[in-house]
Subunit: 203 residues, 2 copies
DNA sequence: ATAGTATGCTTAACACCGTTAAGTGAGAGT
DNA sequence: ACTCTCACTTAACGGTGTTAAGCATACTAT
């Protein structure tokens, strides 16, 4: 009686359909401007069906964020495992982060800029094992390698990691959310940020 | 025939009452979590009255932002005109910027994070002459002073200003929009960013 | 003084929103 | 054949920002 398995498969398929529809709408029109009813319309089910697969709208977004983070993680891991000079590796990791954001600005907006926070404490715990944390962990490993190689003056791994993240995020988010501002050349600006931070950290 | 002027005055007073009520609610509970009906309730008028004084909810917040950002401008100008060592002046200007953002996260969110893309071209123009942008101008003046004093290696004023802004914005916006992340000590993080950037720029 | 008008505000409603309680109906298990 | 499970729907709740229409009051002109 494989019918049970078939139904299981179909359920999973619908879950993915919801995710796909929501991602497309969220990325294209922004989380706030897309209603659950519109997502439901796109998949041709009633709005309430979504609630059988996701607890609420924020959870739906969270699931999409996980997928996006996963892509970033993969890129960063590849760079880290290339095993160059640790400082060069960190620099390239930061570049990858910013480039990723600029390549998928709507995804980036969704996960890092218009990030609505979860109301539940329980969820927060889950989040700390999320892909976002994994990406952060990758950056952290890069920083740690530099410190272990005695390339940096400052030795507080966590602080340096968070600062590097903030530097990358600052550039990425401003370029995305203020496209009409008279920016200097974007590539130069990104490199200036990363190089200046690394130079400032150097022993 | 001063009755016209009196009515004018009374209208202006109500406008300020609305602004005051809205500011208190927005700052205390967050823009998204405060409805027009709640603002109206606080001033003991009907919700629709607000629309006689402000075009919509966003305009209401925008007006509040202008007021508050004027405060930031003043602070930054005071620092800049204190006439210390230009680098120290810049450092303190950056601190003031970040501190301001963390003090008024909802104001900061509207003008720098959830920056409306193109509601109307007309509005955008207004926005670029806003107090937020004036604050940017102040930062630019600080950077220029450092470069003129030959304290920095990099001499592209615009690029350096934008990088410093992005550094401050990165810290500020991440701290605001991801309050549940396990940040290291916030003050240290902010100082680390500013100091590292300045050290990295030094001649 | 009185009729007319402009002004300031309110009532009621529109068209949405996220979410949930209750109900339906097809297929599985006995 | 009958019950039961369960994926799904309908209808509704209590909110949201916003607007059209109406109502008094105060001012103006005759």
């Amino acid at each position: 009686m494989g019918s049970k398995q078939r139904r299981e498969r179909e359920k999973e398929a619908l879950r993915q359909d919801i995710l796909d529809a929501a991602r497309e709408l969220f990325v294209h029109e922004g989380y706030e401007n897309v209603s659950m009813r519109r997502v439901a319309e796109k998949i041709e089910y009633s709005p309430t069906t979504i609630y059988l697969y996701f607890e609420d709208k924020a959870s739906l977004l969270y699931a999409i964020c996980e997928e996006t983070f996963a892509g970033l993680c993969k890129r960063m891991e590849t760079i880290r495992k290339a095993g160059d000079d640790p400082v060069e590796s960190l620099r390239r990791g930061c570049r990858a982060y910013v480039d990723f954001g600029l390549q998928y600005p709507n995804h980036y907006k969704l996960t890092f800029i218009n990030h609505p926070q979860h109301p539940r404490d329980e969820k927060r715990q889950l989040r700390e094992e999320s892909m976002g944390m994994k990406a952060y962990g990758n950056l952290r490993a890069g920083v740690e390698a530099c410190i272990k190689a005695k390339q940096f003056r400052e030795t507080n791994v966590e602080a340096v990691t968070q600062m590097m993240w903030a530097g990358g995020h600052g550039i990425t988010s401003l370029l995305i959310s203020m496209p009409d501002f008279p920016w200097v050349n974007k590539d130069e600006l990104i490199d200036l940020m990363i190089d200046t931070l690394i130079d400032g950290l150097r022993a």
